[in-house]
């Protein structure tokens, strides 16, 4: 239905590109208007922060998006242009005046504003010396330096033995009207610290921070690695000044934690972790379109439940222009804005369901080889596992998009009840396209994307089979007291935070236990993991505020103040203003629960005698808080049956057991299997707002996949020759996407075209050579092997770097290099490596993604095994194993690629020709 409508996306950062790609995939004609001279936004300048392993910075996603967007004929691109006027049409659409070198008028039915952010100008804090001391740089400068490759020291013209990161520059800074956390700086600094150490192993890195704001996939693990593997030191302080030292180094002055005295520390390089603010044009655009701004100047959502909408029909917002967020979140935001456009369009033509037309090869984050086009009939029913709020919201969204859904499972609500849940329940109940199978449990799943067959065991052992094109896993999470507080569960005067509910805190809980007279005192203990802290901390602050309002004295104990959510800093400051005492502990608090409740905790910031409130006594540097009630924030854990469910679904779980593959190339709601999505609590997203984003994005992606009942496949997939298949099951076991299974009729392996991602891993593992990947058969690969140093390059990483390298390579070197493109290094077969030598290669390199960062999850690991195998086989026939090499190359690492090529060529030169006689 969008065929004739045009949507204009303003701003081509990650959010804008994602929205454009998604809208085009849904059949809209898209015009992407970008002010700058090139696409990509801020993140296009960033560096891959991979060390030996992927550090999950997501920068490679930008390169994927760039290629996807540029390769789509249905996205019109206008660079060097802005929107400088708008007229409303009587039809409800808009005419935008787009200005640049030339002026255009573009008629459209909807506008997505994705105009991004403006980094804080470090010179606005002159005391930090930016622009004055050459040793002080911003994180943006460091991004670019890392990007350029080569030595950082060289780049900055100094040794970089001691490096300091100063956090929260231009963030959490009320004085400058920036009373919010920029949400990305803690993580980018952590990753950059690792990258700096990787390139300069002798560097010592110190991070001056207030609190650690974890985000992305398993931030706790990354922090642990930074501390233990890289020796990164975290100092809790907000430096007040950076001064020049006589020796040309710089001195960071910071307030010591104990005692409040100012101490200096010398560094060779100081990196200012600048925050993100509203983009320059935000206000102008807000005025132009009549949109609201929040107190900091970001676009404000009209409906907190659907943040892509603005309250103005046909105008939507996505990405950092509506508040700080990282790349993955911005990409998801783009998808969500696209969904909002479609939904509004459907509402406008009331009664009609949205007709989605999926065009192929537009799967998020995936560039594809072309295969034989084919339209596969699929089931447009979507199965939602779990009656959580996010599950119900997904079902409702799918219903709007014209899909029938079946919700299987009990209705669960881990966060206590809220009005919204009931409204949602009612809407699910009355929706005729949503069926609910209460108490059902998935025990078996056959089939593939488009045609799953789910076996459900209902109450009383009743077994039924449901056919579904896609599945959304929304089974929620389990709340339990964190390890350190486990023993307190069930004690008098101790309650769980979730028991208090989101609003209307029943502070009477403490009331009954009051020991007559005096004030009432509550301790709220939030000792949760960094990945769940943001959502849980917010609940804790709300609870603190309602306790304060009820006249209580409140202590909040936590390892970090997690305020990366929108508006959280404001809430936190408000709680402090009203007298809540926040204690950031390093050692777990101790709770003595005799006849009275006493909580002992050491506050490293206050030190001895620093106890702020009257109610605390001071026992040898410890705060002793006699409390009437202790509220413990529960930690989120995967539900007990999560691992069994994951086995049935054949989806990967993350290190903590949630349905969240650790791989950065999978958008948060994607799993390793096409057609299976995971949302909300069961993937570790515990906040209601995050869970809603998930629900919308997953519903939209599911609808795009199967919503029309037809799936048009034109990407290259692997095919099995059943005559050659020995049914060894290697492909079934090794396919990272579980696209292979057994065809019982043919008695051979079968690969589903709908489910296959086209990595070619199965083809290079099959011992019967029964599998070949379309457009990339062995013959096609071998045809491009020439007698030169041969580099097999992954299409998603090294090949992008290689393309840039080849452009600058001296012609004699270029002549000696033969680049062979593969969709994934996992497609590189042991035979390709050997044949390359047979055909005269003097050395062979395989270059692909970082460990744990493979676009096909495990292809690069398989490739590394192949390279090791080739090395030992070559050795057995007298050929030096050093001639075959593996390199990790990120898409932006053309400098590293060049180094790898030169190193490989050097090895070949030193070893001399492979074939003795042939050379003579």
């Amino acid at each position: 239905m969008l065929e004739s409508s045009r949507v204009v996306v303003v701003g081509a950062g990650v959010a804008g590109m994602s929205a454009a790609r998604s809208l085009a995939a849904a059949g809209a004609r898209v015009t992407l208007v970008e002010k700058g001279g090139r696409l990509g936004g801020m993140a296009a300048d960033y560096a891959c922060k991979g060390t030996d392993r992927c550090n999950k910075c997501n920068v490679c996603l930008v390169h994927e998006l760039l290629r996807d967007v540029k390769s789509r004929p249905d996205i019109g691109i206008m660079t060097g242009c802005t929107v400088d006027g708008v007229a409303v049409l009587s039809s409800g659409g808009y005419v935008l005046k787009v200005g640049g070198r030339e002026r255009h008028e573009v008629e459209c039915s909807a506008v997505v504003l994705a105009t991004g952010f403006e980094p804080f100008h470090a010179s606005e804090r002159p005391e930090l010396g930016y622009g004055v001391h050459p040793a002080v740089v911003t994180a943006l400068d460091l991004e670019k330096a890392l990007r350029d490759g080569r030595g950082l020291g060289e780049k900055f013209g100094r040794s970089i033995g001691r490096v300091a990161f100063v956090q929260c520059v231009g963030s959490r800074d009320l004085q400058r009207g920036r009373g919010y956390c920029s949400r990305v700086c803690c993580m980018y600094s952590l990753r950059m610290a690792r990258a700096v150490r990787h390139r300069n192993p002798s560097a010592e890195v110190t991070v001056f921070h207030m609190d650690f704001q974890g985000a992305g996939k398993d931030p706790g693990d990354l922090r642990r690695r930074a501390e233990t593997e890289d020796g990164v030191r975290f100092v809790r302080a907000r430096p007040s000044e950076v001064a020049l030292a006589p020796d040309g180094r710089v001195v960071v002055w910071f307030e010591d934690m104990d005692g409040g005295t100012c101490r200096p520390a010398e560094f060779d390089l100081v990196v200012l972790a600048v925050g993100t603010g509203p983009g320059r044009d935000t206000r102008t655009l807000a005025d132009m379109f009549g949109l609201g701004l929040d107190e900091f100047g970001f676009f404000a959502p009209a409906d907190p439940g659907d943040e892509a909408t603005t309250g103005v029909p046909g105008v939507f917002v996505a990405g950092t222009c509506r508040g700080p967020r990282d790349i993955a979140e911005s990409v998801a935001d783009g998808e969500r804005a696209a969904l909002a456009v479609l939904r509004e369009e459907a509402a406008r033509r009331a009664g009609q369901r949205i007709a989605l037309s999926l065009s192929a090869g537009t799967w998020p984050g995936r560039r594809v080889l072309r295969g034989q086009p084919e339209t596969i009939e699929v089931s447009s029913t979507v199965l939602v596992l779990g009656g959580t709020v996010e599950g119900m919201e997904a079902a409702r969204t799918l219903s709007d998009l014209g899909c029938r859904t079946v919700i299987v499972g009990e209705e669960t609500r881990p966060d206590g009840d809220s009005g919204a849940t009931y409204t949602l329940l009612a809407r699910v109940d009355e929706d005729s396209s949503i069926d609910v199978l209460a108490g059902g449990c998935l025990v078996r799943l056959d089939g593939q994307a488009g045609g799953f067959r789910a076996t459900i065991e209902g109450p009383g052992g009743l077994v039924s089979e449901i056919g579904a094109g896609a599945l959304i896993v929304a089974t929620g999470y389990r709340r339990e007291f964190p390890e350190a507080a486990r023993g307190l569960a069930g004690r008098a005067c101790v309650v769980g935070l979730s028991e208090l509910g989101e609003s209307g805190v029943p502070w009477a809980v403490g009331e009954e236990h009051r020991k007559g007279g005096g004030g009432r005192r509550a301790v709220i203990w939030v000792g949760v993991r960094p990945d769940t802290a943001r959502a849980i901390f917010r609940q804790a602050i709300s609870a603190a505020l309602s306790a304060l309002a009820a006249g209580w004295e409140v202590y909040v104990l936590c390892p970090e103040v997690a305020v990366a959510g929108t508006g959280d800093e404001v809430l936190y400051l408000e709680a402090r203003r009203q007298g809540a005492v926040f204690v950031k502990y390093e050692e777990e608090p101790e709770v003595q629960a005799g006849s009275a409740l006493r909580v002992l905790v050491r506050d490293p910031c206050l030190g001895a005698g620093g106890a702020a409130a009257s109610a605390t006594t001071d026992v040898s540097g410890l705060l002793a808080i006699d409390a009437d009630v202790l509220v413990v924030a529960e930690e989120a854990y995967p539900p007990p049956d999560a691992s069994e469910l994951a086995r049935v679904l054949r989806v990967n779980t993350g290190p903590l057991g949630f349905f969240q593959d650790d791989n950065v190339n999978l958008l948060p709601v994607l799993t390793n299997r096409r057609g299976i999505f995971t949302i909300g609590g069961c993937r570790g997203a515990t906040g209601v707002a995050d869970a809603m984003v998930d629900a919308h994005v997953a519903a939209y992606l599911a609808a795009r996949l199967v919503g029309t009942g037809n799936l048009h496949v034109d990407w290259a997939t692997a095919r099995v020759d059943p005559d050659k298949c020995a049914l060894c099951l290697t492909c079934v076991r090794t396919c990272p996407h579980r696209a292979a299974d057994v065809d019982d009729e043919v008695r051979a392996a079968r690969i589903s075209r709908a489910a296959c991602w086209g990595c070619g891993v199965c083809a290079s593992e099959c011992p019967g050579k029964a599998i070949s990947l379309e457009s990339c058969s062995d013959d096609e690969i071998l045809a491009s092997v020439a007698p030169a140093v041969t580099a097999f390059c992954c299409d998603h990483s090294a090949l992008i770097a290689a393309e840039a390298t080849m452009a600058v390579l001296p012609t004699d070197e270029a002549a000696g290099l033969n680049i062979v493109a593969v969709p994934c290094t996992g497609k590189v077969d042991i035979i390709h490596l050997l044949k390359a030598f047979e055909r005269g290669a003097e050395a062979v390199m395989v270059a692909g993604c970082f460990d744990e960062g493979c676009h096909f999850l495990s292809g690069n690991r398989r490739a590394r095994l192949r390279v090791g195998q080739a090395a030992s086989l070559l050795k057995a026939v007298g050929i030096e194993p050093e001639r075959v090499r593996f390199y990790h190359i990120g898409p932006d690492m053309s400098a590293a690629f060049l180094e790898a090529v030169q190193e490989t060529m050097q090895v070949a030169r030193e070893l001399g020709p492979v074939m003795r006689r042939r050379a003579g």
Partner: protein, 222 residues
């Protein structure tokens, strides 16, 4: 299935000394599944033989072929048109395959590229373990479905021996004691009583006694 493993390249190269035209023949059944001698391994070995020769400056002709099963006359026949062009055939089938080809083509040198190891299963992808010795007189009914002959290092019928420690065999910490497994399984089946009957000494005449074994079934013969 039959599990095999490729011989070392040194051994293979030594066998092929003096041969300049070699046909490498894979088998599409057991050894494809155990990744020792399917079409892919044929490609790898052929490539290595060429590289080894090139490295020494020799010219060789290495042919590649993979047939459905090397232990069937009809499939082996497919080799007939080309086979005599070669100085030697390097079979990547199990021992049965090597011999079938040799028997079918008198006068052709047929060499084994694999060591045939055992009848077993892939315990997991990339790891195969022995399960059956082909003793000719199956006892699994009395041992809870766990073979003491193949899986007990000593092939004991009335185990375990004194070397069973914490469920492991004294031969190696990586080897489960078969008799511990048998005990545990019978216990879980509630059939420990089976252990009360002693095994009589095994009748090995059903195994290797009387030369190579034959199975003869007249009703299916032509």
């Amino acid at each position: 299935m039959i599990v095999a493993e490729r011989k070392s390249l040194d051994e293979i190269l030594a066998m092929l000394q003096g041969c300049s035209r070699v046909l490498v023949v894979g088998c599409g059944t057991c050894v494809t599944v155990c990744m020792a001698g399917g079409e892919k391994e044929v490609g790898v070995l052929a490539s290595l033989l060429r590289l080894a020769a090139q490295r020494e400056g020799r010219t060789v002709e290495i042919g590649e072929a993979t047939i459905e099963r090397q232990c069937e006359w009809e499939f082996v026949d497919e080799l007939a048109p080309a086979i005599r062009r070669y100085d030697a055939v390097l079979s990547m089938g199990c021992g049965a395959g090597v011999q079938t080809i040799a028997q079918r083509f008198g006068g052709v040198r047929v060499l084994p590229a694999l060591n045939t190891k055992f009848i077993g299963i892939p315990e997991k992808q990339g790891m195969w373990v022995e399960m059956c010795l082909g003793c000719g007189d199956c006892v699994l009914d009395r041992t809870g479905g766990i073979c003491p002959i193949a899986r007990c290092s000593k092939g004991l019928l009335n185990g375990p021996c004194g070397g069973s420690q914490g469920g492991k065999c004294e031969v190696s910490k990586d080897t489960d004691c078969a008799w511990q497994l048998i005990y545990d399984r019978l216990a879980s089946l509630g059939r420990l009583d089976l252990l009360e009957t002693e095994f009589a000494p095994k009748d090995w005449s059903k195994n290797r006694d009387g030369g190579p074994r034959k199975v003869l079934r007249e009703e299916v013969m032509l």
